[in-house]
């Protein structure tokens, strides 16, 4: 397996094209943190804080939100139809070329 390229738009509108490994059991939140992007990830990836909320800009099919993700997004702010929790999205080869934008901080 190899790295894929994903684009992360930060809260200032700056685009970061980063390499994300598909063989390290990483998720989008962890990739953001690995590149020092300002994602707090207070709950460490347990779908309990929504500080990793992002908007999916490209038209990749990420499947349904899982129950925990869905429940957290009911309580979070700035939620849109394309909101997802980065910590609940594993990096797979299907995500090559994914573009996401970090949601504003609460």
């Amino acid at each position: 397996m190899s790295d894929i390229k994903i684009t992360i738009i930060d809260r200032e509108g700056q685009r970061h094209e980063v390499d994300a490994p598909t063989d390290m059991n990483m998720n989008i939140m962890e990739v953001c943190k690995a590149y020092d992007l300002p994602v707090q990830a207070v709950c460490g990836g347990m779908a309990m804080c929504a500080t990793c909320q992002c908007y999916i800009i490209s038209d990749h099919d990420l499947g349904e939100r899982n129950d925990d993700e869905e429940a957290m997004l009911w309580e979070a702010s700035f939620v849109k139809d394309n909101s997802r929790l980065g910590c609940q999205i594993p990096i797979t080869e299907d995500l090559e070329g994914l573009v996401i934008e970090l949601a504003p901080e609460e």
């Binding site: 707090q40 207070v42 709950c43 460490g44 309990m48 129950d67 925990d68 957290m72 009911w74 309580e75």
Partner: protein
């Protein structure tokens, strides 16, 4: 005014263990935490989850680790100011400090140890205009003392464990409990959800879902809330109540500590040495998740280590002329401030023979 040797800001694992290490050096500690209970992230975020990397514990639940830490520091009788946020700090001419909380409680201390983790846990507030004017006047974001609600009409909003647990608890204390949630599904332990269902059947809790509280009304204090049912008709309803408690989770914020003149880097307090974790202001230390230095790891284990070194340095600062030699607890035992003493059993076999003496 509360007086102490070391004032610890933050009752997470790091702050709690600092009490133990300070106690070995006969230094008294007092702890402030914005939350109503000790434990920091362990209690607030993952009390029922196992931790696997505490040395000597192949597996320990975060909540149990905190209970054990509380038991371990019992002999050193720390004071607690809970449910209050450390807000301001003043340095006096003699080098001591006064730390005041958002509720005005003053603490006079020789040393300040900031063990504030990711910051003070602040409640997520609902978006209701003029919310602030009802705070502490019937509107609360956490329950400090359930007795405050005895015989009162209470409306709780939220869909997580806290909202479920407090609805269950207050069902026997308050005169009326209404639980309001935006969705029909709850995100909590299954047995809590079942218990709420049971209490709803017994008319001890009124459950209103899916619905949202849109407004608070009252002259000087909460008298009622305006609720919107999220059905087709978007029906409105006024619920008379004495208390409104939205429990929408907590988000940590470094908050007022960021304005204390300390060097801050990426939301953490810079300590320019790993010798004792002192900040750029002498007498103020930063330990655990709240600090940053080259190679920093945010792990409980590292917080314990930092707390230990901090206490040794604090001792030297308080008693510059005294010499102290670190002792193993196995050898020196523990002398609690409550007069208790723990020490290893002596095991000298004096004589082997008929009259064996142990």
């Amino acid at each position: 005014m509360i007086t102490t040797d070391i004032l610890i800001i933050g009752a997470g694992p790091t702050g709690l263990f600092a009490v133990f290490e300070a106690g070995l050096l006969k230094l008294k500690c007092h702890i402030i935490d914005a939350l109503a209970q000790p434990g920091g992230q362990c209690t607030e975020l993952y009390p029922k989850k196992p931790i696997y990397d505490i040395p000597g514990f192949p597996e320990v639940l975060a909540g149990d680790l905190v209970n054990n830490l509380m038991k371990q520091i019992e002999p050193f009788q720390p004071g607690f100011t809970l449910g209050e946020r450390a807000e301001t700090i003043d340095k006096l001419d003699d080098g001591t400090f006064i730390v005041t909380t958002n509720k005005g409680t003053k603490h006079h201390t020789k040393i300040v140890a900031i063990a504030g983790g990711l910051g003070s846990f602040e409640p997520r507030k609902p978006t209701i205009d003029g919310l602030e004017k009802y705070e502490d006047k019937g509107l609360a974001y956490m329950i400090k003392d359930p007795e405050d609600y005895r015989g009162k009409k209470v409306v709780i909003a939220g869909g997580g464990d806290s909202a479920l647990d407090w609805s269950i608890f207050l069902a026997d204390v308050a005169s009326e409990v209404t639980l309001v949630h935006r969705r029909e599904e709850f995100r909590g332990a299954l047995d809590s959800v079942e218990k709420v269902e049971e209490l709803v059947d017994q008319d001890k809790i009124r459950l209103v879902t899916p619905a949202e509280i849109l407004d608070i009304n009252g002259e000087g204090a909460v008298e009622s809330v305006l609720l919107q049912h999220n059905d087709e008709a978007k029906r409105m309803e006024v619920i008379e109540c004495d208390a409104f408690i939205p429990l929408f989770g907590l988000a940590p914020k470094l908050g007022p500590i960021a304005d204390w003149g300390l060097e801050i880097e990426k939301n953490a307090i810079k300590v320019d040495n790993t010798l004792d974790y002192q900040t750029n202001i002498p007498g103020i230390y930063a330990i655990g998740d709240v600090n940053t230095y080259p190679g920093k790891l945010k792990l409980i284990l590292c917080g314990f280590h930092e707390a230990t070194l901090m206490c040794q340095s604090a001792y030297q600062r308080i008693f510059p002329d005294k010499r102290y030699v670190m002792k193993y607890t196995t050898v020196g035992g523990i002398d609690g401030f409550d007069g208790s003493r723990k020490e290893a059993e002596k095991a000298v076999v004096k004589k082997i023979g008929n009259k064996q003496n142990v």
